[in-house]
């Protein structure tokens, strides 16, 4: 606790108004990054002693020191740090892909697909009902036409479906988990990401066709999304092949090679509209399952994984829009509760139908709470496509993500401890 307080006091001193005239605020990004790295890590360690996940500490550090509270990490700092954020996400996705082994997945594939299908449909349906009933007692929904309400709820349901693979893998790495639950949850989170991107293309096109008179259901858009997903998989396979060949024939300076690969894949995805997360997930998965080089890949990444996680989750925390939470916190809390309930139902039914044991039926839902990047990206697309209510939608989604991002890792960590999979790796 003393080092944490000392780092905090030092930063407070550097940001003291009396000292600011001598400071160059345009050059504060490195200071912000150094501070948040140490502060978030120390906070994470302190929370670990309280049996909470470290990454919750990283996220809370980002929130507290971010633009909405202390502003030690300003909005412009957060924008400048997107570069490192991109690198971190790619590395985390490579690890997540590399942790998924076909042998283990095969055993649980039926359950994973069943859970993903039931979770998605039940969450979608549940939020549709919320919107339709909510118009009578939730002020937020009042004044919307029925069609708009339908579209709003449908899209909200879509965005409530995904689970963050990055958070999932970070908690699993931290707790050193291995076992049935671990594989099921990681597999479920990854498969759901693919699934949700495709569902989103449907729901977005459908919502536009019913709310914008001149707009018909856009099959072109659907094909475009499918093309993006297919392209991401293909690029991921190509990158995975590159990694295999590199590790097999060159083997030196693996970390430099992986860093360059991570950034290239991230950049390719942004230039051509592919999904960086999917690309790296597939690349990691391909390397792990179609070569003997997977272990080397994962160990090379894991050697520097801690700073990567700290940077990624602290920046995620600093990026969380607390003003949105302030505006819609009550409804957001309701959505978080409903989402949890629907996830429980989906997981329960999905796992029961495939004959899984009672433990999985009752507990596995807790692993699917975290939520981040994919939902955020979709919310931005929705905001652009529906200017009438897109910003309100965005505010609500941001608020829900903020809450889920804090509680999600805690739920997952508790689950892994409860089912005795933590520390088994």
């Amino acid at each position: 606790m003393i080092p944490l307080a000392l780092v905090f006091l030092l930063m407070l001193l550097l940001k003291w108004p009396g000292i600011l005239p001598f400071a160059n605020s345009d050059q504060s990004t490195s200071l912000a990054l150094g501070f948040i790295l140490v502060f978030a890590y120390l906070l994470g360690n302190n929370l670990k002693r309280l049996r909470l996940p470290q990454i919750t500490g990283f996220i809370i550090a980002g929130i507290v020191c971010g633009p909405f509270i202390l502003n030690f990490v300003s909005e412009s700092n957060v924008n400048d740090l997107q570069l490192l954020d991109g690198l971190a996400l790619s590395l985390i996705a490579l690890t997540a892909g590399g942790e998924m082994k076909i042998k283990k997945l095969k055993r649980q594939l039926r359950t994973i697909i069943s859970i993903v299908v039931f979770q998605t449909s039940i969450v979608l349906f549940g939020f549709l009902i919320l919107g339709l009933i909510g118009q009578y007692f939730i002020p937020f929904f009042r004044g919307m036409s029925l069609l708009h309400l339908f579209a709003f709820s449908l899209l909200l349901g879509t965005l409530m479906t995904p689970t963050s693979p990055a958070t999932t893998i970070a908690v699993m790495t931290e707790t050193k988990s291995a076992g049935k639950f671990t594989d099921l949850i990681l597999g479920g989170a990854v498969v759901k990401d693919f699934f949700v991107i495709i569902i989103f293309s449907f729901t977005l096109s459908f919502s536009k066709s019913i709310t914008i008179p001149s707009h018909n259901f856009d099959f072109g858009f659907l094909l475009h999304i499918l093309g993006e997903v297919g392209g991401s998989i293909l690029i991921g396979i190509l990158i995975g092949t590159g990694i295999i060949l590199y590790i097999k024939f060159i083997k030196k300076d693996i970390i430099i090679f992986i860093l360059s690969i991570a950034f290239f894949s991230y950049q390719i995805s942004h230039n051509y509209g592919y999904h960086p997360l999917l690309i790296c997930l597939v690349a990691g998965f391909f390397t792990e399952n179609f070569s003997s080089q997977g272990k080397l890949l994962i160990s090379a990444i894991e050697r520097s994984s801690v700073p990567v996680y700290v940077v990624f989750f602290a920046i995620s925390g600093a990026s969380l829009d607390l003003s949105a939470l302030r505006q819609t916190w009550l409804l957001a809390l309701g959505c978080v509760f409903l989402r949890g309930l629907l996830k429980f139902s989906g997981t329960f039914i999905g796992s029961r139908l495939t004959g899984e044991g009672k433990e999985i039926q009752r507990l596995a839902w807790a692993g699917f709470i975290s939520q981040a990047g994919v939902a955020l990206g979709m919310a931005i697309v929705i905001q652009d496509n529906f200017p009438d209510w897109g910003s309100e939608f965005m505010a609500l989604v941001l608020a829900v993500i903020a809450i889920n991002q804090i509680i999600g890792p805690i739920f997952l960590q508790r689950l892994l401890i409860k089912v005795k999979e933590a520390g088994k790796k």
Binding site: I2, A23, Q27, L31, L37, I256, N271
Partner: protein, 403 residues
């Protein structure tokens, strides 16, 4: 988004460079050039705003944190080797020689540069030329141990001259970086009009006490058993924090991180744990740093700059050679100090580059672009000829001593 592309390219080029450039089997200028990593400045230059333009000014702004980390890293590594226990092994006369050498080189170079700058850059204000002369004087006073560490693989017989030169090149940077701190504190940008001593003193105090505090914190965090990953997070985070604070107050990151390195090195007992970590992290960081510097370099080259590049090389050679017999007498130095021994001090290596970039970043003026051009070209030329210098001085003197 372009920043990501550029960063990916940087790492890939760095990797390809590391893979395909031969490390060399002899102490030739070409081999040393690739061994020291200076080739990456040229690669960075080719990618930068004066070259292909892949790394444009806006991208470089986004990549500033990495330059900051690179500068901090160089300073920290330098400071970390200045452990009192290690330095005490050497006779006091060695330390006196290093200080005297620094003083002479700095004054000789600084005065000569100022005398030449004034008639050539007539349109520039006098106080800026003073600053530039001081900076160029400090620059030539810096030395790098990289060349001698490469030379140690080829040296026929390691004798007194090898150990003396290695000590001097390792320590000389200390004085130069302190000079940089004094310059940056009292010559703060924007320039103070009043109470310069008070304000300058305040900045110097801040830039010294802050890294000392962080050094204690680093020691406090690592004195109990820590894993390698914890050490890595603290190391990267605290170097970032210190160099970031330096940027924030327009102070030289090299000085602050050197003080951090010295403080930590003299407190900790984890040297054995930290060295492998530093070595494994150093290479990729240093390569990226050099490429970014190359990209940052806006070549402001005209006949005036070429005069100063030549002057820098000539002054460097003369300033290290001429006073040696005098130092021998003044210090009653136990070894013979012939003038040619001075030829082993031609390389300023990464620390020289970091110094030049530090100046450019602390003083973002058009004249510092000229300074950077002179400094980088000058460094590249002296780096290129420095292996010959070592052969003519240390190699021969040591073999003569053996005979």
């Amino acid at each position: 988004m372009q920043a990501l592309y550029a960063f990916g390219l940087i790492i890939l080029v760095a990797f390809l460079g590391a893979r395909f450039i031969t490390k060399g089997t002899s102490l030739s200028p070409v081999n040393y050039f690739s061994y020291s990593g200076f080739i990456y400045i040229i690669l960075g230059f080719a990618l930068g705003r004066s070259g292909l333009g892949v790394l444009g000014p806006s991208l470089l702004t986004g990549l500033t944190p990495l330059i900051s980390l690179g500068l901090g890293w160089v300073g920290f590594l330098f400071g970390f080797q200045l452990e009192a226990k290690y330095l005490k092994r050497f006779p006091r006369k060695y330390i006196n020689l290093s200080f005297l050498q620094f003083l002479f080189v700095f004054l000789f170079g600084g005065v000569a540069f100022f005398l030449m700058l004034k008639p050539i850059y007539t349109s520039e204000p006098g106080f800026l030329l003073y600053g530039m002369a001081v900076a160029l004087g400090l620059l030539i006073s810096l030395n790098s141990p990289t060349l001698l560490s490469m030379a140690s693989n080829f040296i026929p017989e390691r004798g007194s001259y090898f150990y003396l030169s290695r000590f001097l090149v390792s320590v000389s940077g200390f004085w130069g970086i302190i000079g940089l701190a004094l310059l940056s504190s009292f010559w703060h940008f924007p320039f103070f009009e009043s109470k310069i001593i008070l304000k300058g003193g305040g900045f110097l105090f801040l830039s010294t006490i802050f890294p000392i505090l962080i050094g204690f914190l680093f020691h406090f965090l690592t004195k109990k058993r820590v894993s390698e990953e914890q050490m890595l997070v603290y190391l990267i985070g605290l170097v970032f924090f210190v160099s970031g604070a330096a940027f924030y107050f327009n102070l030289p990151p090299l000085y602050l991180s050197m003080v951090l390195g010295i403080t930590f090195s003299n407190l900790t007992k984890t040297h054995e744990k930290l060295y492998p970590l530093l070595l494994s992290t150093e290479k990729p960081l240093y390569i990226i740093f050099l490429i970014l510097i190359g990209a940052l370099w806006k070549v402001d080259f005209d006949y005036r700059a070429s005069i100063f590049i030549a002057l820098l090389v000539v002054l460097r050679v003369l300033a290290y050679m001429l006073p040696l017999p005098f130092f021998k007498v003044v210090l009653d130095f136990p070894l013979r100090l012939p003038t040619r021994f001075g030829l082993c001090f031609l390389s300023s290596g990464g620390i020289g580059v970091a110094f030049a970039v530090s100046m450019k970043l602390v003083y973002p003026l058009p004249l510092t672009d000229v300074f950077l051009t002179i400094a980088l070209f000058g460094i590249l030329v002296t780096e290129f000829i420095s292996p010959w210098g070592v052969k003519f001085s240390v190699f021969r003197l040591d073999s003569e001593e053996q005979k």
